[in-house]
Each structure stands twice: as structure tokens, then as C-alpha cells.
Amino acid sequence: MRLEPRSHVPLWLNLAAPLSAVALAFVLCALLIVWAGAPVFAAYGALLNGAFGSVFAISETLTRAAPLIFTGLAAAVAFRAKLWNIGGEGQLYAGALAATYFGTGLIELPPFLMIPFLFLVGAIAGGLLLLLPVILKLKLRVDEVVTTLLLNFVVLLFANYLLFGPWKDPLAMGWPQAAPIIDEGVLSPLIARTRLHSGLIWAVFFAVCAWAFIRYSKWGFEIRAVGNNPTAADFAGIPLGATVLRTAMMSGGLAGMAGVCELAGLKGYLTLDLSPGFGYTGIAVAMLAGLHPLGVIASAIFIAAIYNGADAMSRAMSISNYLADVMTATALLLVLASVLFVRFRPRLR
């Protein structure tokens, strides 16, 4: 079999390829359900019901989707520039740490300023954290995959230190948690008696911004050029270093905002279980979306649905909710293969 580049990619193919990959992932994971001794259709039914079966279920799914949109955007923007930022988890915590530092009483602003301010400091913290590996990559050609991965552990341990040490809230009865964000900084709830908060609106807003930025702006053009062919981009006078640094600030910033979104929207105070791996899952979200910022919205909701649904499923029958992780990983790999068939036309020789 040979692969020929396509001169035009039809829109339907761009949609059909990931969808069929996801469908195949469901089929493969059905084998695990069979192994667990549960009826496949009933199990998937419970999953669907848990994800979308009621207003509450939908609200929970969307609540979970909000941080995934942010981390998915972080990965999508970076991967567009072939900047392999696997440090979304660490950047998320960096954002949350910064928001905790500024938002627990240090600075008080009215809500319409306080919330954007928290997002801003979170974004700056996340971006700065990614800057270190990126500068090492640019100056010393140190592989950013490994450094960003390792920094995740460092940041988590640092948060651990703060929460067990200087930042421990004396009112928390011994639990390792920080003082709560002041009321002005809390994201307002969207639907009464659910956990859904306005972080989702912010997430969608930033997805649209990221899309317009990548598609229509000069800097977006540069990011795409550098990602596709850095040699040619450099030759054409596009500033490589500046573009990569800008990308890093954006990507790290988006991941940092995921931390702010969770912190100010859900709990109100920083704990060590703020993120169940949103930073890593963001990579799957971005790949599923074909690195398209608007697609990230859909794929984040989809993956959030899988996780919420799997929780419901595991409560209803004896299937571990790690099935959600398996499904996400399977879908990621299959989408990866399907992308190849979007860019190239397979030909039998």
C-alpha cells in the first residue's frame, strides 16, 4: 500500500475519520465489558445515561468539560507549532497556585475585574512554567517532552509542600487545603442546584479566540508555518524563536487557566486532587479534535461524557471506571491512525 498526498481534503472526511475512529474505540472497549461479565448494551446505556440522561447529568458533563477545553486548547496550540508540551498538568497547578496566591485576599477587586485578573495571573504562571523547557529547547536543544513531563512532578510536589506547610488553611481541620478564594473571584453558577459554573463560558470564549487567532492572525500564520516546516519558515523570515516563545506562553497560559477555572468555579480552594489528570487528558482531547480549537469544544464534551458516564456505569454495574481512561487512550490512538488517511490517500500498488 502506498500513501499519496491529497490535494484537497473534503470536509466530510475531516469529520468522518475521527468519528469512525471513536466508533471503533467503542467496539474494542466492548470486549473489556464482556470480560467484566456485563451486558455490553446495558453498560453503554448506563454510560450514556450517566453522561446525558438528565439535566443534572448534562450539567456534570459540561462541568467536567470546561477544564478539558482549556487543557485541550493548550495541547492543540502547542502541537500546531510542533511544540510537544506534555506539561499541561503542571501548568494547570501552576495556574491554580498563582490564583490562590493572589485570590485569597492579597488583592481585592470587584467581580467583573477579579475574575479576569485571576485568569490572567493563572495564565501567566502556566506560561512562565512552560517557558523554562522551551528556552532550554531553543538554546540547548534539550528535548521538551521529557522536561515538561518531569516538571509536572516537581510542580505537584511543590503544591504538596505549600498545602502541607505555609499555605495550609488553619480552618480546614487538618486537611491539606489552602484558604478559599474570596467571593469576588468565584465563578458564578450557571444552573441552580448543579455544579455547572461560568468557567464553561470562559472556556468556549477562549476556544473561539484561539480558533480565530490560529486561522486569521499573523502570529497564528507563523505558528502554523513553524509547526509544518520550521526550515522553510525560518528561510522565509518568520522568527522561529519568538514564535515558539509566543506559542509557549499561549499554551502554558491556557493550561494555567484550566487550573483557575477548576479552582474558582468548583471547589473555591486549592487541594491536591484539583485535577484528576486533566493536563494529560487534554492531549487526547486535542488529538481527537484534530488540533482544531473549535473541535476541542466538542471533543472535550465527548471525553467528559465518557468519564462521567463511566462513573455512573461503575456505580450501576461492576465495571471499573478506569474503562474511561482505556476508551480515551484507544480513541486517541485510533484517531492518530485515521488522521493519516485524511492527509493521504491510500493506494494499492
Binding site: 540547548l140 536543544r141 512532578f153 509542600y161 494529560y280 471499573s320 474503562l323 481512561d325 492518530l336 491512525a337
Partner: protein, 313 residues
């Protein structure tokens, strides 16, 4: 306890050798993959899988050595999956590796939970016991440090010269080194590039899985969620530190383990001044430092990360 006391204690040196073991397996495994031109970021997940299946095998009544073999087979299978994407389809090695790590860890945890649904505290098994090598183990100092270790530790240290010999002194090793430099040259000799790379990734992944297995069936006696804890990523940094050479990989792993063994001991006495979290950060920070130090001299295999498609020149 001051530093001198630590350095003269047998326990420190024996712990160093023990802690180096999973890193030696993992680093050798990653080295084999990268020498063949494939960056294997699946290492973290593959080590998790190796840890889980080996433990489970023993827990279900299997024998320890068979458990090592089972771990190796599972590792090789995930290596095969990795190369299916990265070698045959030629998709990004970065994303493939992350995908394999996510999949392998998720499957390990899923299987662990499904096979032991109602357990809250992790059950235990009878792990490998230290095996004193007759004669050698009676040597003063060295006997206890080097020759009273788990059989898997002996295996790891033995594998270093074996991999070195294999890479530099056999035709297959030559082909493997060449396929990471210039796959075209290998294809021109009628050797199948895809198969050779796949074989290398499978072998390397088997090593990684055995490294994971060492943790559950030799050091600890239980499997728990998140137990690999970044050791795989550290191995990737060690490969760069070692300039893709098995001997230096051993050196790197030992140095690293020395820091780890040291921090555990210093931590106890110094926790009054320095919070223990900063000691726990050491391995990760050191890995980054090691990569910075080696960056100028890093001579990457020329074809690392470059997929090979037949008939494309």
C-alpha cells in the same frame, strides 16, 4: 546522621544497587528503541503494565520467574502496538508514545480493579528474596552490596554487557545501529527496516516491563495505582545522559540511584530545615539537570523520530 555515616553504611550502598535496578532495565530498553530510531514514550505505561501483570501472575499462584517472562511478553506486545503506529503507519512518535502510556496504564489499573474488585488494602505476595551468590557474598563489604541482591538485579547488571556486546559486536546490533542512523542503508542490504525497528521496540519494551515487574515482585510486594511515578520519564533522560551507550547508561542509573538513596537518608535527619517534598523533587530536577549538562554533546541517532516509508527517497 551525617554524610560520612551514610557513605560508610552498607545499607546505603546495597539500597543504591537495588534502586538502580529498574532504572537499568528501563534505560537499556529505551536505549535499544532509540538506537533503532524510535523514541518510546510508552515507557511509563509499559513499566506500569509490567508491574501489574507480574504481580498479578504471582498473586494468582504463578511462579516468580514465569511472572518475569509474562511481564516481558506483555511489554513486547505493547512495543508491537507502538511500532504498529510509529513504524508501520509512520505517525508521530511523540503522540503514539503518550497514547501507549495512557492505554497501558489505564488497562493495568482497569485489569487490577476487575481482577480484585472488593479489595481495599492492596494484597501482598511473596516477592523475590535476596540471593547471596555462594562465595562472592562472603566478601567483606562488596559481598553484601553487590552479591546479596535480588536475582533480577543480577539479571539487570548482566544485561548491560550483553546489550553492549549485542549492539557493537554482532551483525544484528550493527543493523540496529544503522537503522537508527540511516534506514535506507539497511533497506539497501535487503533487511526489512520496519521489521527490524519493530523487533527493537518489542525487545526494548520487554526490558521496560521487566523493570516495572522488579518493583512489584522484588522491592515491594504489592501493586498500587501510580507506583511507577515518573521512573519511565527519568529513564528517557538517562538515555540522553548516557549518550546512547549501555555502559554509560549503567553509570547514569547508579549515579541516579545514589542520589535517591542519599535523599531518603538525608531527608530523615534534615527534615527540620528542608521540607521532605524538596527531597522528593530531586530525581526529577536532577534528570532535567542531566539533560542540560549533556545537551551540548548529545549526538542523537540521525534517524530518531523520522518515520521510514518504503519507496520514498
Amino acid at each position: 546522621m551525617d554524610l560520612l555515616d551514610i557513605f560508610v553504611s552498607l545499607g546505603f550502598w546495597a539500597a543504591l544497587v537495588r534502586m538502580a535496578t529498574p532504572l537499568v532495565f528501563g534505560t537499556l530498553g529505551e536505549l535499544i528503541c532509540e538506537r533503532a530510531g524510535v523514541l518510546n514514550l510508552g515507557i511509563e505505561g509499559i513499566m506500569t503494565m509490567g508491574a501489574m501483570v507480574a504481580w498479578m501472575w504471582v498473586y494468582q499462584g504463578g511462579d516468580l520467574w514465569t511472572a518475569v517472562l509474562v511481564a516481558a511478553i506483555f511489554g513486547a506486545l505493547f512495543g508491537l502496538l507502538h511500532s504498529g503506529f510509529s513504524v508501520y503507519l509512520g505517525v508521530s512518535q511523540h503522540v503514539t508514545g503518550i497514547g501507549i502510556t495512557l492505554l497501558a496504564s489505564a488497562l493495568s489499573y482497569f485489569a487490577f480493579r476487575m481482577l480484585l474488585p472488593d479489595v481495599t488494602t492492596p494484597p501482598k505476595i511473596d516477592p523475590f528474596k535476596p540471593y547471596p551468590i555462594p562465595g562472592l557474598s562472603e566478601l567483606p563489604f562488596l559481598g553484601e552490596v553487590l552479591f546479596t541482591q535480588s536475582p533480577l538485579t543480577y539479571l539487570a547488571f548482566l544485561l548491560v554487557p550483553v546489550v553492549g556486546y549485542g549492539l557493537y559486536r554482532t551483525p544484528l546490533g550493527l543493523a540496529l545501529r544503522m537503522v537508527g542512523e540511516n534506514p535506507m542503508a539497511v533497506e539497501a542490504q535487503g533487511i526489512d527496516v520496519h521489521r527490524l525497528r519493530t523487533a527493537a521496540v518489542m525487545l526494548g519494551s520487554a526490558f521496560m516491563a521487566v523493570g516495572g515487574a522488579f518493583l512489584t515482585i522484588s522491592v515491594f510486594d504489592a501493586f498500587y495505582i501510580g507506583m511507577i511515578n515518573g521512573r519511565g520519564w527519568i529513564c528517557i533522560a538517562l538515555v540522553i545522559f548516557a549518550s546512547w551507550r549501555p555502559g554509560k547508561a549503567l553509570l547514569g542509573a547508579l549515579l541516579f540511584a545514589a542520589f535517591e538513596a542519599l535523599q531518603i537518608r538525608v531527608q530523615q535527619s534534615a527534615s527540620a530545615f528542608i521540607p521532605y517534598q524538596f527531597f522528593l523533587m530531586m530525581p526529577y530536577v536532577l534528570s532535567i539537570l542531566a539533560m542540560i549538562v549533556m545537551s551540548r554533546r548529545a549526538a542523537y541517532p540521525k534517524a530518531l523520530l523520522v518515520p521510514f516509508r518504503k519507496g520514498e527517497r
